[in-house]
């Protein structure tokens, strides 16, 4: 039973990690129907920014909490400005082009950013400081769920709730939903669609930055390539849950994380990805739009 609980929490942590990245994918897709392949790189840039700021602040002797807040803030601002700029440079000019064009543009952006960080920073693995120190009250259960795991779980939950509230109950959320449902009509009733799209990119990128900081702190290392694999998995999770749906992204991520964790625990970690992607295929066979996705024939 202990073993089961250990695996359960491993899976939940992993799922929450995926969710922090998947939310950005799903939001952008929900608004403009684009799979933003550069999202994983935004996550990586967030991690790098947090790394640089945290390193400088810890040399200057700031207290731990201040380092987390300031590094997080810097990562959010920096990543958000990247997200905003990428949308303006790589996607906006292609808004009326065939759907394949912005997709290719996104892949190109992803490669560009990877190589940019490779050249501007380093190809080596860098040690990411452990920003979240071990809480004393967690010690009795530390072998099951660590302090960083807890912070990731709580952050993901809070972020998901905040996003749902934002989209359901605020003015900007209403505008987002309108844009998502019918961009032309939204424009006609006076919604500034370009601004809504920019805001979406900024929110998505900010989430990726927070994810980047927390996940890097959990793993303890970063390099220019971390965005790729994390991005692919998060994308899978978003599709699994129904791309375009916020609760779907979180649910898909948790399902994916748990599948991988239990596959490792009870079968073999050699087959972790086999189980994860078999599950994806199975769900898509029976529910092509994902677990919580709405069937939307217009977008085909």
């Amino acid at each position: 039973m202990d073993y089961f609980i250990e695996l359960l929490f491993s899976g939940l942590t992993r799922g929450s990690i995926y969710a922090l990245i998947a939310l950005g994918y799903t939001m952008v897709y929900g608004i403009i129907g684009l799979i933003n392949f550069a999202h994983g790189e935004i996550y990586m840039i967030g991690a790098f920014t947090a790394f640089i700021v945290a390193t400088i602040l810890s040399i200057l002797g700031f207290p731990a909490l201040a380092i987390i807040v300031l590094a997080g803030l810097a990562a959010v601002v920096w990543s958000a400005s990247y997200g905003y700029t990428i949308e303006k440079i790589a996607y906006k000019p292609l808004r009326h082009a065939p759907r394949l064009s912005p997709l290719i543009s996104a892949i190109g952006m992803s490669m560009f950013l990877q190589n940019y960080v490779l050249l501007a920073q380093t190809s080596d693995f860098l040690p990411f400081p452990q920003l979240i120190s071990d809480f004393n009250f967690m010690e009795p259960v530390a072998h099951i769920v660590g302090s960083t795991d807890l912070v990731i779980l709580v952050t993901t939950t809070v972020v998901m709730i905040c996003l749902t509230i934002l989209i359901k109950y605020t003015k900007i959320g209403k505008a987002m939903r309108a844009t998502s449902q019918d961009r032309m009509m939204a424009m006609l009733v006076g919604i500034n669609v370009n601004r809504i799209i920019s805001v979406t990119f900024i929110i998505g990128s900010s989430l990726a930055a927070i994810g980047g900081m927390l996940i890097a702190s959990h793993i303890g290392q970063i390099n220019f390539y971390i965005g790729f694999i994390a991005g692919i998995k998060a994308f899978t999770a978003a599709v699994l849950g129904g791309i375009g749906s916020i609760p779907g992204a979180v649910l898909g991520s948790v399902v994916l994380g748990l599948t991988e964790s239990f596959a490792t625990g009870y079968v073999s970690s050699d087959y972790e990805d086999v189980f994860a992607f078999s599950l994806l295929v199975l769900i898509l066979i029976f529910k092509p739009s994902g677990i919580l996705g709405k069937a939307d024939t217009q977008k085909v």
């Binding site: 491993s10 899976g11 040690p127 793993i219 303890g220 625990g265 073999s268 970690s269 990805d273």
Partner: protein
């Protein structure tokens, strides 16, 4: 149009004939020709260029001292980019250029591809770095020798260390699914089973680059392993040791020379403390090694790179074999290599009948206070 094309082809063919004819005529001259092959450009150039430097330094010394048995050595340096196709082309070229022995083959794969061509021509090949066990153990390449221990020697050492020295009974073998890591892990598993005093409680591959390794760590904990033997490179190793400490798993960690890298300690920090990793024996106290490094600094103004000392030793061993054998006949050279002991930077070495150097090996290191300390 077609006439001029035909003429061009004829001219090219004639040129080619000439190009082949000249080196063949050159064999008659009284020099020894040593091929130096390896990646001299591209991603892996840093593994190949130190061998070129070693060859240049030693050949200059040997030639200045009157050569081998009165013959000067001439270097034929060729770039293989560690690519199998290029390596076979290079081999053909070296054979036609009259190379009599070859230093190199840096990467196992491309070396293996080129070996049959050298074998057909009866040319001795000695690698400073190709560690694939099959190169010597298959018996397919009697012309192949190397001055580095094969991968399985390392697995054997780690297994002996874990079982005989540390007395572990339960060992979890984990790898990164790559050629190198999985190869190491499979040898480790085989040697543990052969030893019989310990059992493999877990044998699994992890996905490199995954965001979280807690599930596999929980599984290792569940298996009751006293130590984790890991085949792979340092990025995964540091994630695993970090997660082991975080999940309060009190097992030790033993790994290979892909982990014995200072980056491992830098990245895993305090979590790396106490981890074991095997790597080439520390030869820095050997006076010949010091001299070799000094010579490189004097000649090239920098510290030598990867496999420099192994290449230096290979040139010394081959030069000595040629001297003793009095010819470059493959059988005579092999006999000399197997019987004559040579003092080299990597130790006093000779070769076994398969072509592996005796006296070159690995040591187990432990991370202590942020550095690797060799365990005697």
């Amino acid at each position: 149009m077609s006439m001029s094309l035909n003429r061009k082809i004829v001219a090219a063919a004639a040129g080619l004939m000439l190009a082949i004819a000249v080196p063949v005529a050159g064999v008659a001259a009284d020099t020894l020709k040593m091929g130096v092959v390896g990646p001299h450009s591209g991603d892996l150039a840093s593994y190949g260029l130190p061998s070129v430097n070693a060859a240049k330094i030693l050949v200059e010394q040997i030639n200045a001292a009157g050569g081998i048995n009165g013959k000067q050595i001439e270097l034929l340096i060729e770039d293989t980019v560690c690519d199998a196709k290029t390596a076979t082309d290079v081999a053909t070229k070296l054979v036609s250029d009259g190379a009599q022995f070859v230093l190199g083959g840096i990467c196992s794969g491309s070396t293996k591809a080129a070996l049959p061509i050298y074998l057909d021509a009866g040319i001795l090949v000695m690698s400073p770095s190709a560690t694939n066990p099959g190169l010597t153990q298959s018996g397919d390449y009697p012309n192949f020798f190397r001055t580095i221990a094969p991968d399985d020697a390392q697995a054997q050492l780690d297994v002996d260390f874990a079982i005989d020295k540390m007395g572990y009974k339960k060992i979890a073998v984990v790898h990164d699914k790559g050629d190198y890591g999985k190869g190491f892990a499979e040898f480790a598993k085989m040697f543990i089973e052969k030893n019989g005093n310990a059992e493999v409680v877990l044998f699994e591959g992890v996905t490199p680059g995954a965001v979280d390794y807690s599930a596999i760590v929980q599984k290792i904990k569940q298996s009751g392993a006293e130590t984790v033997m890991f085949g792979g490179y340092h990025p995964e190793a540091s994630k695993i040791v970090t997660m082991m400490k975080k999940k309060r798993l009190d097992a030790s960690f033993i790994s290979d020379d892909g982990v014995k890298d200072i980056t491992f300690i830098k990245v895993a920090g305090e979590f790396a403390e106490g981890a074991y990793a095997s790597g080439p024996m520390d030869t820095s106290s050997n006076p010949l090694s010091k001299a070799a490094v000094e010579a490189h600094k004097k000649e090239f103004g920098s510290d030598p790179g990867a496999f420099y000392e192994n290449a230096y030793s290979a040139v010394l061993a081959m030069a000595n074999a040629v001297k003793v054998a009095g010819s470059t006949d493959l059988e005579a050279l092999k006999k000399a290599l197997q019987t004559e002991k040579v003092d080299t930077p990597v130790g006093t070495i000779s070769f076994d009948e398969r072509g592996d150097a005796i006296g070159v090996g690995f040591s187990v290191y432990q991370v202590q206070n942020g550095t690797f300390v060799e365990l005697k």
